[in-house]
Protein backbone atom coordinates (compact mmCIF):
# COMPACT_ATOMS: atom_id res chain seq x y z
CA UNK A 1 0.00 0.00 0.00
CA UNK A 2 1.55 3.33 -1.03
CA UNK A 3 2.40 5.76 1.76
CA UNK A 4 0.29 8.95 1.96
CA UNK A 5 1.56 12.21 0.44
CA UNK A 6 3.36 14.69 2.68
CA UNK A 7 1.29 17.88 2.80
CA UNK A 8 3.24 20.25 5.08
CA UNK A 9 6.80 21.28 5.81
CA UNK A 10 6.34 20.20 9.42
CA UNK A 11 5.39 16.68 8.31
CA UNK A 12 8.27 16.57 5.86
CA UNK A 13 10.81 17.47 8.56
CA UNK A 14 9.20 14.94 10.92
CA UNK A 15 9.49 12.18 8.29
CA UNK A 16 13.10 13.08 7.47
CA UNK A 17 14.03 12.96 11.15
CA UNK A 18 12.60 9.46 11.46
CA UNK A 19 14.69 7.86 8.74
CA UNK A 20 18.20 7.22 7.55
CA UNK A 21 19.23 9.50 4.70
CA UNK A 22 20.66 7.05 2.18
CA UNK A 23 17.77 4.63 2.23
CA UNK A 24 14.72 6.72 2.69
CA UNK A 25 15.10 10.36 1.66
CA UNK A 26 14.38 9.79 -2.03
CA UNK A 27 11.22 7.91 -1.12
CA UNK A 28 10.15 10.59 1.34
CA UNK A 29 10.67 13.39 -1.18
CA UNK A 30 8.70 11.44 -3.81
CA UNK A 31 5.67 11.88 -1.54
CA UNK A 32 6.11 15.66 -1.63
CA UNK A 33 2.73 17.39 -1.91
CA UNK A 34 3.29 20.59 0.05
CA UNK A 35 1.23 23.59 -1.09
CA UNK A 36 3.38 26.62 -1.89
CA UNK A 37 1.59 28.69 0.76
CA UNK A 38 3.20 26.54 3.44
CA UNK A 39 6.67 27.37 2.12
CA UNK A 40 6.19 31.06 1.50
CA UNK A 41 7.32 32.10 4.96
CA UNK A 42 10.82 30.92 3.96
CA UNK A 43 10.97 32.95 0.74
CA UNK A 44 13.48 35.82 0.74
CA UNK A 45 14.31 37.86 -2.33
CA UNK A 46 17.37 39.94 -3.07
CA UNK A 47 17.89 41.73 -6.36
CA UNK A 48 21.68 41.29 -6.15
CA UNK A 49 21.98 37.56 -5.47
CA UNK A 50 19.95 34.43 -4.86
CA UNK A 51 19.07 33.69 -1.22
CA UNK A 52 19.40 30.64 1.00
CA UNK A 53 17.07 30.14 3.96
CA UNK A 54 17.34 27.26 6.39
CA UNK A 55 14.11 25.41 7.15
CA UNK A 56 15.64 22.79 9.42
CA UNK A 57 19.10 21.55 10.27
CA UNK A 58 20.37 18.79 12.53
CA UNK A 59 23.44 16.58 12.60
CA UNK A 60 22.08 14.35 9.78
CA UNK A 61 20.57 16.73 7.25
CA UNK A 62 19.73 20.30 6.37
CA UNK A 63 16.73 21.55 4.44
CA UNK A 64 17.07 24.89 2.65
CA UNK A 65 14.78 27.06 0.54
CA UNK A 66 16.68 28.73 -2.32
CA UNK A 67 15.08 31.72 -4.08
CA UNK A 68 16.23 32.99 -7.48
CA UNK A 69 15.17 36.21 -9.12
CA UNK A 70 15.15 35.99 -12.94
CA UNK A 71 18.74 36.00 -14.17
CA UNK A 72 20.25 34.88 -10.89
CA UNK A 73 22.47 31.82 -10.65
CA UNK A 74 24.60 29.96 -8.19
CA UNK A 75 28.32 29.74 -8.70
CA UNK A 76 29.77 26.72 -10.47
CA UNK A 77 30.41 24.74 -7.35
CA UNK A 78 30.56 21.47 -5.55
CA UNK A 79 30.41 20.54 -1.90
CA UNK A 80 31.18 17.75 0.49
CA UNK A 81 27.69 16.42 1.08
CA UNK A 82 27.33 12.86 -0.21
CA UNK A 83 23.64 13.27 -0.92
CA UNK A 84 21.74 16.27 -2.12
CA UNK A 85 18.21 16.40 -3.48
CA UNK A 86 16.98 19.49 -5.32
CA UNK A 87 13.24 19.83 -5.65
CA UNK A 88 11.77 22.71 -7.69
CA UNK A 89 8.75 24.19 -5.97
CA UNK A 90 8.21 27.34 -8.05
CA UNK A 91 9.28 28.34 -11.57
CA UNK A 92 12.10 26.49 -13.30
CA UNK A 93 15.87 26.36 -13.09
CA UNK A 94 18.49 24.97 -15.41
CA UNK A 95 21.16 22.71 -13.95
CA UNK A 96 24.48 22.98 -15.74
CA UNK A 97 26.81 20.07 -15.06
CA UNK A 98 30.60 20.22 -15.32
CA UNK A 99 33.69 18.09 -14.86
CA UNK A 100 37.21 19.20 -14.11
CA UNK A 101 39.45 18.18 -16.99
CA UNK A 102 43.06 18.70 -17.91
CA UNK A 103 42.34 22.14 -19.31
CA UNK A 104 39.91 23.25 -16.64
CA UNK A 105 36.16 22.92 -16.45
CA UNK A 106 34.36 20.98 -19.13
CA UNK A 107 30.62 21.18 -19.66
CA UNK A 108 28.72 17.90 -19.38
CA UNK A 109 25.39 19.33 -20.45
CA UNK A 110 22.34 20.71 -18.75
CA UNK A 111 18.93 19.68 -17.44
CA UNK A 112 15.80 21.54 -16.54
CA UNK A 113 14.08 21.31 -13.20
CA UNK A 114 10.45 22.33 -13.50
CA UNK A 115 7.78 22.73 -10.86
CA UNK A 116 5.77 19.58 -10.57
CA UNK A 117 8.45 17.49 -12.23
CA UNK A 118 8.36 14.03 -10.69
CA UNK A 119 12.15 13.70 -10.79
CA UNK A 120 14.44 15.20 -8.23
CA UNK A 121 17.90 16.31 -9.22
CA UNK A 122 20.41 14.43 -7.12
CA UNK A 123 23.82 16.11 -7.11
CA UNK A 124 26.16 14.30 -4.74
CA UNK A 125 29.61 15.75 -5.19
CA UNK A 126 29.18 16.75 -8.88
CA UNK A 127 30.29 20.15 -10.12
CA UNK A 128 27.25 22.12 -11.18
CA UNK A 129 25.36 25.36 -11.04
CA UNK A 130 21.71 26.39 -11.10
CA UNK A 131 20.48 29.23 -13.28
CA UNK A 132 17.10 30.89 -13.38
CA UNK A 133 16.89 32.13 -16.95
CA UNK A 134 13.57 33.78 -16.16
CA UNK A 135 11.26 35.38 -16.88
CA UNK A 136 9.67 34.31 -13.57
CA UNK A 137 11.09 33.84 -10.11
CA UNK A 138 12.13 30.32 -9.14
CA UNK A 139 12.35 28.47 -5.83
CA UNK A 140 13.93 25.12 -5.03
CA UNK A 141 13.87 23.07 -1.86
CA UNK A 142 17.35 21.65 -1.25
CA UNK A 143 18.00 18.74 1.07
CA UNK A 144 21.60 17.91 2.04
CA UNK A 145 22.66 14.88 4.05
CA UNK A 146 24.89 15.46 5.89
CA UNK A 147 24.74 19.25 6.23
CA UNK A 148 27.30 21.09 4.12
CA UNK A 149 30.60 22.02 5.66
CA UNK A 150 32.63 22.66 2.51
CA UNK A 151 31.78 24.76 -0.55
CA UNK A 152 34.10 25.11 -3.49
CA UNK A 153 33.51 27.75 -6.16
CA UNK A 154 35.21 27.08 -9.53
CA UNK A 155 36.34 29.85 -11.83
CA UNK A 156 34.62 32.39 -9.66
CA UNK A 157 35.67 35.33 -11.76
CA UNK A 158 35.40 33.79 -15.21
CA UNK A 159 32.60 34.53 -17.59
CA UNK A 160 31.32 30.99 -17.15
CA UNK A 161 30.58 31.47 -13.51
CA UNK A 162 29.16 34.95 -13.65
CA UNK A 163 25.52 35.55 -12.99
CA UNK A 164 23.39 34.75 -16.02
CA UNK A 165 22.08 37.69 -18.01
CA UNK A 166 19.10 39.10 -16.20
CA UNK A 167 15.72 38.18 -17.53
CA UNK A 168 12.61 40.30 -17.27
CA UNK A 169 11.99 41.54 -13.71
CA UNK A 170 8.78 41.68 -11.87
Amino acid sequence: MPLPPIGSIRDLVRELMKHDANNAFTGILSRYAIPIEDLQRYFRWNNKHYTRTCVHRNADFELLVICYEPGQATSIHDYDSQNAWIHPVMGEVEVERYAMGEHGLRSLGADWLRTGSPDLFRTGSAIHRFVNHGPARAVTLNLYAKPLSRWHVYEAGSSKARTAPPGPRR
Binding site: R52, E155, G157, S158
Partner: protein, 401 residues
Protein backbone atom coordinates in the same frame (compact mmCIF):
# COMPACT_ATOMS: atom_id res chain seq x y z
CA UNK B 1 43.97 79.48 102.31
CA UNK B 2 46.18 81.54 104.49
CA UNK B 3 48.05 84.66 103.48
CA UNK B 4 48.02 88.31 104.32
CA UNK B 5 50.23 91.33 103.78
CA UNK B 6 49.82 95.04 104.06
CA UNK B 7 51.09 98.04 102.26
CA UNK B 8 51.97 101.24 103.76
CA UNK B 9 49.54 103.11 101.53
CA UNK B 10 46.30 101.18 101.57
CA UNK B 11 46.64 98.68 104.36
CA UNK B 12 45.10 96.10 102.00
CA UNK B 13 44.36 92.64 103.32
CA UNK B 14 45.99 90.65 100.55
CA UNK B 15 45.09 87.38 102.19
CA UNK B 16 41.46 88.31 101.99
CA UNK B 17 41.84 89.53 98.41
CA UNK B 18 43.57 86.29 97.49
CA UNK B 19 40.79 84.28 99.05
CA UNK B 20 38.17 86.32 97.19
CA UNK B 21 40.08 85.89 93.94
CA UNK B 22 40.31 82.17 94.55
CA UNK B 23 36.64 81.81 95.37
CA UNK B 24 35.38 84.03 92.53
CA UNK B 25 37.76 83.01 89.79
CA UNK B 26 36.01 82.32 86.46
CA UNK B 27 38.25 79.27 85.95
CA UNK B 28 38.44 76.21 88.09
CA UNK B 29 41.26 76.13 90.62
CA UNK B 30 42.35 73.00 92.42
CA UNK B 31 45.21 72.23 94.80
CA UNK B 32 46.37 68.66 95.34
CA UNK B 33 49.00 67.28 97.68
CA UNK B 34 51.82 64.90 96.87
CA UNK B 35 49.43 61.93 97.04
CA UNK B 36 47.06 63.49 94.54
CA UNK B 37 44.38 64.29 97.10
CA UNK B 38 42.30 67.37 96.49
CA UNK B 39 43.06 69.72 99.29
CA UNK B 40 41.49 72.86 98.05
CA UNK B 41 39.30 73.93 95.14
CA UNK B 42 37.12 76.82 94.24
CA UNK B 43 33.36 76.77 93.52
CA UNK B 44 33.90 77.10 89.79
CA UNK B 45 35.79 73.81 89.82
CA UNK B 46 33.12 71.71 91.49
CA UNK B 47 30.33 73.36 89.49
CA UNK B 48 32.33 72.73 86.32
CA UNK B 49 32.53 69.02 87.15
CA UNK B 50 28.92 68.82 88.41
CA UNK B 51 29.67 68.30 92.10
CA UNK B 52 28.08 69.92 95.15
CA UNK B 53 30.17 72.01 97.45
CA UNK B 54 32.36 69.85 99.66
CA UNK B 55 31.88 66.67 97.61
CA UNK B 56 35.37 66.87 96.15
CA UNK B 57 37.17 67.57 99.42
CA UNK B 58 39.88 65.00 100.15
CA UNK B 59 38.96 63.03 97.03
CA UNK B 60 41.75 61.83 94.70
CA UNK B 61 42.22 64.16 91.74
CA UNK B 62 41.68 61.14 89.45
CA UNK B 63 37.89 61.31 90.06
CA UNK B 64 38.01 64.24 87.65
CA UNK B 65 39.87 62.20 85.01
CA UNK B 66 38.08 59.94 82.45
CA UNK B 67 38.36 56.27 83.46
CA UNK B 68 40.57 55.24 80.58
CA UNK B 69 43.21 57.83 81.43
CA UNK B 70 43.33 57.42 85.18
CA UNK B 71 46.24 55.01 85.42
CA UNK B 72 48.36 57.14 83.13
CA UNK B 73 47.46 60.23 85.08
CA UNK B 74 48.83 58.73 88.30
CA UNK B 75 52.15 58.13 86.53
CA UNK B 76 52.18 61.67 85.08
CA UNK B 77 51.37 63.15 88.48
CA UNK B 78 54.17 61.20 90.20
CA UNK B 79 56.64 62.32 87.53
CA UNK B 80 55.54 65.92 87.94
CA UNK B 81 56.13 65.78 91.69
CA UNK B 82 59.70 64.64 91.03
CA UNK B 83 60.39 67.44 88.52
CA UNK B 84 57.87 70.17 89.18
CA UNK B 85 57.73 73.21 86.93
CA UNK B 86 55.06 75.64 85.87
CA UNK B 87 53.64 74.48 82.54
CA UNK B 88 50.63 73.67 80.52
CA UNK B 89 49.37 70.18 80.99
CA UNK B 90 49.04 67.72 78.15
CA UNK B 91 50.60 69.85 75.45
CA UNK B 92 49.60 68.55 72.06
CA UNK B 93 46.88 66.39 73.54
CA UNK B 94 43.13 66.79 73.77
CA UNK B 95 42.60 66.85 77.55
CA UNK B 96 39.27 65.69 78.94
CA UNK B 97 37.62 66.09 82.31
CA UNK B 98 35.01 63.74 83.71
CA UNK B 99 31.90 65.13 85.34
CA UNK B 100 30.15 63.51 88.27
CA UNK B 101 27.48 62.16 85.89
CA UNK B 102 30.23 60.43 83.88
CA UNK B 103 30.08 62.76 80.90
CA UNK B 104 33.38 63.92 79.46
CA UNK B 105 34.24 67.42 78.31
CA UNK B 106 37.30 69.15 76.90
CA UNK B 107 39.50 71.11 79.28
CA UNK B 108 42.71 73.08 79.30
CA UNK B 109 44.90 72.85 82.39
CA UNK B 110 47.89 74.90 83.58
CA UNK B 111 49.99 73.47 86.36
CA UNK B 112 52.12 75.17 88.99
CA UNK B 113 53.45 74.14 92.35
CA UNK B 114 54.29 75.69 95.69
CA UNK B 115 55.63 74.48 98.98
CA UNK B 116 54.17 75.05 102.38
CA UNK B 117 55.92 73.74 105.49
CA UNK B 118 58.14 71.52 103.33
CA UNK B 119 55.21 69.94 101.61
CA UNK B 120 54.76 70.41 97.93
CA UNK B 121 51.38 71.13 96.50
CA UNK B 122 50.37 71.32 92.90
CA UNK B 123 47.84 73.86 91.73
CA UNK B 124 45.86 73.38 88.58
CA UNK B 125 43.99 76.06 86.66
CA UNK B 126 41.22 74.27 84.80
CA UNK B 127 39.32 75.89 81.94
CA UNK B 128 36.22 74.33 80.39
CA UNK B 129 36.84 74.79 76.67
CA UNK B 130 33.65 73.07 75.46
CA UNK B 131 32.42 76.14 73.62
CA UNK B 132 35.78 76.79 72.02
CA UNK B 133 36.19 73.11 71.26
CA UNK B 134 32.75 72.90 69.66
CA UNK B 135 33.47 76.05 67.67
CA UNK B 136 36.80 74.60 66.57
CA UNK B 137 35.14 71.32 65.69
CA UNK B 138 32.48 73.16 63.69
CA UNK B 139 35.18 75.19 61.99
CA UNK B 140 37.16 72.04 61.28
CA UNK B 141 34.09 70.35 59.87
CA UNK B 142 33.29 73.39 57.77
CA UNK B 143 36.88 73.48 56.53
CA UNK B 144 36.76 69.81 55.75
CA UNK B 145 33.48 70.19 53.90
CA UNK B 146 34.88 73.14 52.03
CA UNK B 147 38.00 71.20 51.14
CA UNK B 148 35.90 68.26 49.98
CA UNK B 149 33.73 70.59 47.95
CA UNK B 150 36.78 72.23 46.43
CA UNK B 151 38.24 68.81 45.65
CA UNK B 152 34.98 67.65 44.14
CA UNK B 153 34.64 70.80 42.09
CA UNK B 154 38.26 70.54 41.01
CA UNK B 155 37.68 66.94 39.95
CA UNK B 156 34.54 68.00 38.07
CA UNK B 157 36.47 70.77 36.37
CA UNK B 158 39.27 68.35 35.59
CA UNK B 159 36.77 65.86 34.11
CA UNK B 160 35.05 68.62 32.17
CA UNK B 161 38.42 69.78 30.88
CA UNK B 162 39.30 66.19 29.94
CA UNK B 163 35.95 65.78 28.16
CA UNK B 164 36.48 69.01 26.26
CA UNK B 165 40.00 67.91 25.37
CA UNK B 166 38.72 64.52 24.18
CA UNK B 167 35.89 66.13 22.22
CA UNK B 168 38.36 68.52 20.64
CA UNK B 169 40.73 65.68 19.88
CA UNK B 170 37.89 63.65 18.36
CA UNK B 171 36.76 66.67 16.39
CA UNK B 172 40.31 67.18 15.19
CA UNK B 173 40.58 63.50 14.23
CA UNK B 174 37.25 63.61 12.40
CA UNK B 175 38.34 66.74 10.62
CA UNK B 176 41.60 65.04 9.64
CA UNK B 177 39.64 61.94 8.64
CA UNK B 178 37.36 63.94 6.40
CA UNK B 179 40.38 65.68 4.91
CA UNK B 180 41.98 62.33 4.22
CA UNK B 181 38.72 61.09 2.72
CA UNK B 182 38.42 64.05 0.37
CA UNK B 183 41.99 63.49 -0.73
CA UNK B 184 41.48 59.71 -1.09
CA UNK B 185 38.12 60.07 -2.84
CA UNK B 186 39.41 62.61 -5.33
CA UNK B 187 42.21 60.20 -6.20
CA UNK B 188 40.38 56.86 -6.00
CA UNK B 189 37.15 57.98 -7.66
CA UNK B 190 38.92 59.39 -10.68
CA UNK B 191 39.67 56.00 -12.31
CA UNK B 192 36.22 54.38 -11.94
CA UNK B 193 34.52 57.62 -12.97
CA UNK B 194 36.54 57.85 -16.17
CA UNK B 195 35.81 54.16 -16.88
CA UNK B 196 32.10 54.83 -16.39
CA UNK B 197 32.30 57.90 -18.58
CA UNK B 198 34.04 56.10 -21.43
CA UNK B 199 31.58 53.17 -21.21
CA UNK B 200 28.65 55.59 -21.34
CA UNK B 201 30.24 57.35 -24.34
CA UNK B 202 30.67 54.04 -26.17
CA UNK B 203 27.12 52.91 -25.37
CA UNK B 204 25.92 56.16 -26.94
CA UNK B 205 27.78 55.38 -30.17
CA UNK B 206 26.63 51.76 -30.63
CA UNK B 207 23.88 51.18 -33.14
CA UNK B 208 22.47 48.20 -34.90
CA UNK B 209 22.25 44.52 -33.96
CA UNK B 210 25.87 44.04 -32.95
CA UNK B 211 25.43 46.67 -30.25
CA UNK B 212 23.53 44.43 -27.81
CA UNK B 213 26.50 42.38 -26.60
CA UNK B 214 28.77 45.40 -26.36
CA UNK B 215 26.21 47.42 -24.44
CA UNK B 216 25.82 44.52 -21.99
CA UNK B 217 29.61 44.45 -21.48
CA UNK B 218 29.75 48.16 -20.74
CA UNK B 219 26.72 48.04 -18.46
CA UNK B 220 28.50 45.27 -16.49
CA UNK B 221 31.63 47.43 -16.32
CA UNK B 222 29.63 50.42 -15.09
CA UNK B 223 27.96 48.22 -12.47
CA UNK B 224 31.35 46.97 -11.24
CA UNK B 225 32.78 50.47 -10.97
CA UNK B 226 29.71 51.84 -9.21
CA UNK B 227 29.91 48.90 -6.81
CA UNK B 228 33.56 49.72 -6.09
CA UNK B 229 32.75 53.36 -5.41
CA UNK B 230 29.82 52.40 -3.19
CA UNK B 231 32.10 50.04 -1.24
CA UNK B 232 34.59 52.87 -0.72
CA UNK B 233 31.87 55.20 0.52
CA UNK B 234 30.48 52.49 2.77
CA UNK B 235 33.88 51.91 4.34
CA UNK B 236 34.26 55.58 5.09
CA UNK B 237 30.75 55.86 6.51
CA UNK B 238 31.32 52.76 8.68
CA UNK B 239 34.50 54.28 10.07
CA UNK B 240 32.76 57.56 10.79
CA UNK B 241 29.97 55.71 12.60
CA UNK B 242 32.52 53.84 14.73
CA UNK B 243 34.40 57.07 15.46
CA UNK B 244 31.20 58.71 16.61
CA UNK B 245 30.34 55.74 18.86
CA UNK B 246 27.23 54.92 16.84
CA UNK B 247 28.07 51.25 16.36
CA UNK B 248 26.55 48.84 18.85
CA UNK B 249 27.36 45.16 19.14
CA UNK B 250 24.21 43.01 18.98
CA UNK B 251 25.15 39.33 19.22
CA UNK B 252 22.60 36.96 17.67
CA UNK B 253 22.72 33.19 17.07
CA UNK B 254 24.16 32.42 13.63
CA UNK B 255 25.12 29.39 11.60
CA UNK B 256 28.70 30.14 10.59
CA UNK B 257 28.64 27.71 7.63
CA UNK B 258 25.48 29.29 6.20
CA UNK B 259 26.96 32.74 6.64
CA UNK B 260 30.24 31.82 4.92
CA UNK B 261 28.64 29.97 1.99
CA UNK B 262 26.29 32.92 1.48
CA UNK B 263 29.24 35.33 1.50
CA UNK B 264 31.32 33.19 -0.86
CA UNK B 265 28.38 33.11 -3.28
CA UNK B 266 28.10 36.90 -3.14
CA UNK B 267 31.81 37.67 -3.29
CA UNK B 268 32.57 35.36 -6.23
CA UNK B 269 31.25 38.15 -8.42
CA UNK B 270 34.26 40.26 -7.45
CA UNK B 271 36.72 37.51 -8.29
CA UNK B 272 39.33 37.81 -11.02
CA UNK B 273 39.22 35.48 -14.03
CA UNK B 274 39.80 31.87 -13.11
CA UNK B 275 40.10 32.44 -9.37
CA UNK B 276 38.47 29.79 -7.23
CA UNK B 277 37.03 30.22 -3.75
CA UNK B 278 37.17 27.36 -1.33
CA UNK B 279 35.31 27.29 1.95
CA UNK B 280 35.79 24.63 4.59
CA UNK B 281 34.40 24.30 8.09
CA UNK B 282 35.94 22.02 10.70
CA UNK B 283 33.84 20.88 13.67
CA UNK B 284 30.35 19.48 14.10
CA UNK B 285 29.46 22.63 15.99
CA UNK B 286 28.31 25.40 13.62
CA UNK B 287 26.42 27.73 15.87
CA UNK B 288 27.96 31.02 17.03
CA UNK B 289 26.51 34.05 18.81
CA UNK B 290 28.09 37.18 17.35
CA UNK B 291 27.07 40.46 15.74
CA UNK B 292 25.87 39.40 12.29
CA UNK B 293 26.71 42.62 10.48
CA UNK B 294 30.17 42.99 12.04
CA UNK B 295 31.07 39.36 11.33
CA UNK B 296 29.80 39.78 7.79
CA UNK B 297 31.96 42.88 7.34
CA UNK B 298 35.05 41.18 8.77
CA UNK B 299 34.82 38.11 6.48
CA UNK B 300 33.80 40.18 3.45
CA UNK B 301 36.74 42.49 3.94
CA UNK B 302 39.31 39.73 4.32
CA UNK B 303 38.01 37.67 1.37
CA UNK B 304 37.71 40.80 -0.82
CA UNK B 305 41.32 41.69 -0.01
CA UNK B 306 42.42 38.15 -0.83
CA UNK B 307 40.62 38.39 -4.19
CA UNK B 308 42.03 41.84 -4.93
CA UNK B 309 45.63 41.08 -4.08
CA UNK B 310 45.73 37.64 -5.76
CA UNK B 311 46.43 36.85 -9.39
CA UNK B 312 44.06 35.45 -12.00
CA UNK B 313 43.41 31.72 -11.53
CA UNK B 314 44.63 31.81 -7.92
CA UNK B 315 42.87 29.87 -5.21
CA UNK B 316 41.48 31.68 -2.19
CA UNK B 317 40.63 29.69 0.90
CA UNK B 318 38.29 30.55 3.73
CA UNK B 319 38.40 28.26 6.75
CA UNK B 320 36.35 28.26 9.93
CA UNK B 321 37.05 26.15 12.99
CA UNK B 322 35.12 25.95 16.23
CA UNK B 323 36.98 24.50 19.19
CA UNK B 324 37.08 25.12 22.94
CA UNK B 325 34.45 27.83 22.80
CA UNK B 326 36.39 29.84 20.20
CA UNK B 327 35.67 30.54 16.55
CA UNK B 328 38.71 30.81 14.33
CA UNK B 329 38.41 32.22 10.80
CA UNK B 330 41.33 32.17 8.41
CA UNK B 331 41.62 33.54 4.91
CA UNK B 332 44.52 32.37 2.76
CA UNK B 333 45.67 33.54 -0.61
CA UNK B 334 48.59 33.03 -2.93
CA UNK B 335 48.81 36.65 -3.98
CA UNK B 336 51.48 39.33 -3.93
CA UNK B 337 51.87 39.36 -0.14
CA UNK B 338 52.50 42.30 2.17
CA UNK B 339 55.99 43.79 2.15
CA UNK B 340 57.75 43.26 5.47
CA UNK B 341 58.28 46.98 6.07
CA UNK B 342 54.54 47.61 5.63
CA UNK B 343 53.32 44.90 7.96
CA UNK B 344 53.50 46.91 11.20
CA UNK B 345 51.28 49.64 9.69
CA UNK B 346 48.72 47.35 8.09
CA UNK B 347 45.85 48.12 10.49
CA UNK B 348 46.38 51.89 10.47
CA UNK B 349 43.72 54.07 8.88
CA UNK B 350 44.33 54.95 5.23
CA UNK B 351 47.46 52.83 5.09
CA UNK B 352 48.12 51.27 1.69
CA UNK B 353 50.83 48.71 1.09
CA UNK B 354 53.70 50.04 -0.98
CA UNK B 355 53.05 47.29 -3.58
CA UNK B 356 49.30 48.01 -3.72
CA UNK B 357 49.08 51.65 -4.70
CA UNK B 358 47.81 50.84 -8.18
CA UNK B 359 45.02 48.65 -6.82
CA UNK B 360 41.77 50.35 -5.89
CA UNK B 361 41.25 50.72 -2.12
CA UNK B 362 40.71 53.18 0.68
CA UNK B 363 43.17 51.85 3.24
CA UNK B 364 40.29 51.71 5.70
CA UNK B 365 39.19 48.09 5.38
CA UNK B 366 41.62 46.40 7.77
CA UNK B 367 41.32 49.24 10.26
CA UNK B 368 37.56 48.63 10.25
CA UNK B 369 38.09 44.88 10.63
CA UNK B 370 40.25 45.47 13.68
CA UNK B 371 37.72 47.87 15.20
CA UNK B 372 34.84 45.43 14.66
CA UNK B 373 36.86 42.60 16.17
CA UNK B 374 37.78 44.69 19.20
CA UNK B 375 34.07 45.36 19.71
CA UNK B 376 33.41 41.59 19.67
CA UNK B 377 36.40 40.73 21.94
CA UNK B 378 38.21 39.26 18.97
CA UNK B 379 41.75 39.41 17.63
CA UNK B 380 43.41 39.33 14.24
CA UNK B 381 46.90 38.35 13.17
CA UNK B 382 48.55 37.55 9.89
CA UNK B 383 51.60 36.05 8.26
CA UNK B 384 52.65 37.06 4.80
CA UNK B 385 55.30 36.28 2.28
CA UNK B 386 54.90 36.67 -1.48
CA UNK B 387 52.64 33.83 -2.60
CA UNK B 388 51.25 33.02 0.82
CA UNK B 389 49.27 35.34 3.05
CA UNK B 390 47.12 34.10 5.91
CA UNK B 391 44.87 36.29 8.06
CA UNK B 392 43.56 34.59 11.19
CA UNK B 393 40.71 35.94 13.26
CA UNK B 394 39.83 34.56 16.70
CA UNK B 395 36.54 35.26 18.41
CA UNK B 396 34.53 33.89 21.30
CA UNK B 397 32.06 31.35 19.91
CA UNK B 398 29.25 32.89 21.94
CA UNK B 399 29.47 36.56 22.80
CA UNK B 400 27.27 37.76 25.65
CA UNK B 401 25.06 40.83 25.11
Amino acid sequence: MEGSTSSEAGKLDLGRIGLLLFRNAAEGLVVVDERGTIRLHNPRLHSMFGYEEGELDERPIEVLIPDALRAKHVAHRTAYHKHPAPRMMGIGMDLRGKRKDGSVFPVEISLNHFTVEDRMFVMGLVTDITLRYDAEEALHRTNQELEERVEQRTAELRNAEQSVREALEKERELHALKGRFVSMASHEFRTPLSTIMSSVDLIGRYTGNEAEGKVGKHVARIRTKVREMTAMLNEFLSLERIEQGQVECNPTPLDIVDLCIGLIEELRQLARPGQSLDYDHTADERSVTLDHQMLNNVITNLVTNAIKYSHDKDRIMLRTVIADGRLSISVMDRGMGIPLEDQQHLFERFFRGSNATTIQGTGLGLNLVKRYLETMNGTIEFTSIPGNTVFTVRLPQHLGK
